[in-house]
Symmetry: C2
Subunit: 425 residues, 2 copies
């Protein structure tokens, strides 16, 4: 039996061709396949059209060792995947009596009688094997023909996910090649994309050449540049050693700017730093409207260090709850470094925490001035060993600016804590 090296993924369903829906199943499927070195050559989304699915499926079958189809296994007329695959492979559909019984029993457990229409879900192409679906009525199917493997999975992610995992473990992994696709991610803050690329580029030539090339893709998001390093290797231990060496070099080149090499988002990195040291934190947010604290509290266990946040949208709230002096606001404006600093001090004092964060800015689209345009954000972080305040001009939509500002604030907390640690040594 030849190993499975390449795959193609086809999502079936007209709803996936609208502007509001996206096929995310292919990401979960790709993740599983890549772990075993099976390369996804292409993917497609096809509507509920027999002709279109037939054409796309046939051409995938020519190119790839494995074709995974998701969706279109329901009981209605729109559900065409079973039929088209059976037609294309010239395998007649037959009702599987055991499957009918299983479906009936599933309905019976919920006190229901199986609708006749659901019998269609028990139709199986000749020679196909049934893949059990613990979370739904549509079973999966496994077919082999001319050295190719075809897998049919139901569309709902909570049904497909566990089935794909079982499939990988029990059937696909044993038949994949020796190769593994190894991945590591380095995330960098405080750099523009082009500047970060400039720092990283000198490494690329060494990595991409030679017998075990490392592929690098760069992903930029507000406040983070992520380098994804992947290496295809038949000897995973050697491959991982090479990859780790590359990660080490990159992390060293970026120094403090490299905030993680283990895939964690910024709020998890900051959370771990705080938890390790037994530090607590309080935040005073204005333009970010609670998003900073929401991100901090996305981390399980964050109640150990997040004590309090005050979202003071109005000046009066800044004065009353955060003890920001009214004349400070009058002198510098609500969006200013002195006010951000006073907010950080105020919330830290009130909560009695190790760290205090203050953010004030203009998220837009209204409220900007010539002097302080939309996107102006002042961020202060205060700890027992000192404080840090700065103003950034961020660009984008309101939501974009909000997110970016929280990213900068979290990064400032991270740096302040790291530097304190260095000083303490």
């Amino acid at each position: 039996m030849r190993p499975i090296l390449t795959a193609e993924i086809i999502a079936v369903g007209s709803e996936l061709l609208t502007p509001t829906r996206i096929d995310t199943n292919s990401l979960a499927i790709t993740a599983r396949l890549e772990e075993h070195g099976i390369r996804v050559r292409a993917k497609a989304v096809v509507g509920d059209s027999r002709d279109d699915l037939g054409a796309v499926f046939s051409s995938a079958l020519v190119r790839s060792d494995l074709v995974v189809l998701s969706g279109g296994l329901g009981p209605t007329d729109d559900d065409i995947t079973r039929d088209v695959v059976a037609d294309t492979l010239k395998r007649p559909l037959r009702e599987d009596p055991a499957l009918v019984e299983r479906l009936r029993a599933r309905f019976a457990r919920r006190g229901l009688q199986m609708p006749e229409i659901n019998r269609r879900q028990a139709m199986v192409p000749d020679g196909a094997e049934v893949i059990p679906n613990p979370n739904g009525t549509a079973p999966g199917l496994w077919l082999e023909q001319d050295g190719r493997i075809v897998v049919l999975l139901p569309g709902p992610p909570r049904e497909l996910g566990p089935m794909m995992e079982a499939l990988m473990r029990e059937r696909l992994a044993p038949r994949s090649g020796e190769a593994r696709l190894l991945t590591r991610i380095v995330r960098v803050a405080g750099q523009t994309e082009s500047h970060a690329e400039e720092i990283a580029r000198p490494f690329f030539e060494g990595w991409t050449s030679g017998p075990r090339p490392i592929a690098v893709t760069t992903l930029a998001s507000p406040g983070s540049i992520d380098f994804h390093l992947t290496l295809r290797s038949e000897r995973p231990a050697d491959g991982m050693a090479r990859l780790n060496e590359a990660v080490r070099a990159l992390v060293q080149a970026f120094g403090e700017d490299a905030y993680t090499d283990d895939e964690r988002p910024m709020e998890h990195v900051v959370g771990s730093l705080l938890a390790e040291r037994g530090y607590t934190v309080a935040a005073a947010e204005s333009c970010t409207g609670g998003l900073l604290t929401s991100r901090l509290t996305d981390v399980p266990g964050s109640s150990a260090y997040v004590q309090l946040a005050v979202i003071a949208y109005s000046n009066q709230a800044k004065i009353d709850l955060l003890s920001v002096p009214g004349d400070l606001i009058a002198a510098h404006g609500a969006v200013s470094e002195p006010v951000a600093q006073a907010m950080a001090t105020g919330v830290r004092t009130r909560a009695g925490t190790t760290l205090g964060i203050g953010i004030t800015g203009i998220a837009g689209p209204g409220g900007g001035t010539l002097e302080k345009p939309v996107g102006t954000v002042a961020i202060a972080v205060e700890g027992p060993w000192g404080s840090h305040v700065r103003t950034r001009l961020l660009i984008g939509s309101r939501e974009h600016i909000k997110f970016w500002a929280t990213q900068v604030a979290l990064d400032d907390v991270r740096r302040l804590v790291l530097r304190e640690r260095q000083q303490a040594r």
Copy 2:
């Protein structure tokens, strides 16, 4: 010239075949095409392989009136789209001197000399027309052959978006058919998916039958069931009348549960209600960690009504800042209706707002007990005309529970304000 009725979208780039990246350009392209009744038959993602792209492109060309390719127009060896399209259509590539000059000028404006490698971006297949790219170096291309149209657009969304809009307006709209794809969305809160389907289903038969069928897709997310109604019509005014009638029927069937029929998310609906009436709001959040207020402040202009929020993760903060009696917490536990109510009262009193919201719960994964499992959330909303408090048991991940709880709280605010309005009549 025959009208453009069907289209196919191909995204090019190996990075789009990894588990961390998704092709979102196709959504923007689909939205533009649908507005002019051009139906997307299928879409595909192909890596940087000449063979694979050639095969996928050729078969799309057979099926569809229009093929839109995105990505792979950069200056490097990996950028294969120009070459493959030229090969497939048998049109030799020639350097366009005007384009070389435009590229040089673009670099010169930034004080840079054009790298020689960028000349590749000036290579144009015989007979192709150049689509200007105001936001980048890669121009788009427009080709016609055998009654089919092929469009090449660069991959970065901020370059592709404006180009696609201009293309639609100037070239595609005039050649699309009479048909328009009309869409309306009704969003429902406070219902399970199956219960909402039960209420909506009796309408479906009348809608999907007849000469102008309305297609319905249902999209469930935490705290919202969305019905997307679409109708393809050659007489948009008649079509829209039919669609509006269907929306009216659905909204009537759901009554107060139908929170919007104009695509706005819940926080915008609530924001408009508050702004219209001149109401102000303050929130006391615990388990949602600021997410409720962050959603409220995602709405432009929300500073008019969002006054204050206190995120009181610790009991001490609940006592100090929200005046929650310590013995109330001792008697009922921090996650309880009396404490949620006291939080709402406390923050409303402190901020002097029309409305106060209190949320306390267990977002997990830790912290659950037999009596109060993970997902238990108590939500209180208080206004001058009364208050409302209830406990919900939500399921899912920590982030899922956080979001769902904010959705329930926003919905409770909406209902309380609506009912007050009814009472006031």
